[in-house]
């Protein structure tokens, strides 16, 4: 694949991730305590499978940067919290891709890492050690939500033929 083509695919994936992120925060209400499905993670899973680690990082970074820019929350505490979540989930995605894990497993673990990362940032920003007791709740809810996004990503990957590593 030429670098221009690759660049445009990655930009489109980034746009899709931002769109899903904004759509979810606007139209899909959180289950409880701000727990969400995290459908934008589907795009990260597709990017890592079809293109590679660098592209996944670009898609995730753009999702946080531009998503927050559109919402008007850039460089606010919300920005750092979502940044922390995305950073930890991206790191876990890298590790799991190296160990050749399945898409659903990657989805569940990155979903857990995402919510844990957010809680860690809240704990640091607001001095809230008590937030630690919320991590088990997030772990329990992240498994079904991660499984769901994993299945969607798997089905999309089966049907979409773009990409390929150079």
């Amino acid at each position: 694949m030429s670098s221009t083509k690759r660049f445009s695919y990655v930009s489109m994936l980034a746009a899709l991730a931002i769109l899903l992120n904004l759509t979810e925060s606007m139209f899909i209400p959180p289950i409880q305590f701000g727990i969400r499905f995290g459908i934008a993670n589907i795009v990260a899973l597709i990017a890592i499978d079809r293109f590679g680690l660098k592209e996944m990082f670009i898609v995730n970074l753009m999702r946080v940067l531009i998503g927050n820019l559109i919402r008007g929350t850039i460089f606010s505490s919300i920005f750092w919290i979502s940044g922390g979540g995305v950073l930890l989930s991206s790191l876990f995605l890298v590790l799991l891709t190296r160990s050749k894990s399945s898409v659903i497993f990657k989805s569940i673990i990155s979903s857990i890492a995402h919510s844990t990362g957010q809680v860690l940032v809240v704990m640091i920003l607001y001095n809230q050690v008590s937030m630690l007791s919320f991590i088990p709740v997030l772990l329990i809810t992240s498994i079904p939500t991660g499984y769901l996004t994993g299945i969607i990503a798997k089905e999309v990957l089966k049907r979409v033929k773009v990409g390929g590593k150079i």
């Binding site: 399945s102 497993f105 991590i135």
Partner: protein, 121 residues
């Protein structure tokens, strides 16, 4: 999913349930009556209000983006009529020190409402 992956997920789930249980018993054995409203700004903290969760009352105070009201009722407290864009803290509903999330956090206003010890008899 591979078999080993399923095993890891199951182990994680069991650990989470156990940890939830431990935190649950810790919370119900360490209930706290006094609640502090803290304003976080520029890395500093300022207590703007302290109240007893067992005394029913309604408190209104100024925050960065306008006003915020806390309703205390039957040992529980909740945030209402908050001037902010997303109203996540209002959606948390009634909480107290035994709730899963005992701290109400309003990110846009930099406000946390958290249990802080026992009331002085």
């Amino acid at each position: 999913m591979k078999k080993s992956e399923k095993r890891i997920i199951t182990i994680l789930f069991v650990i989470a349930v156990l940890a939830y249980g431990v935190f649950y018993f810790y919370r119900i054995n360490n209930s706290q009556d006094m609640v502090q409203v803290i304003h976080h700004f520029d890395g500093k903290e300022e207590v703007i209000l302290e109240f007893d969760a067992n005394v029913d009352n309604i408190y209104t105070f100024d925050v960065d983006l306008g006003e915020m009201t806390i309703e205390v009722k039957d040992g529980f407290y909740r945030a209402i009529n908050v001037d902010c864009p997303n109203h996540n803290c209002e959606k948390m509903g009634y909480v107290n020190s035994e709730s899963v999330l005992d701290t109400i956090i309003c990110l846009p206003n930099g406000i946390t409402i958290e249990p802080k010890g026992q009331a002085n008899e």
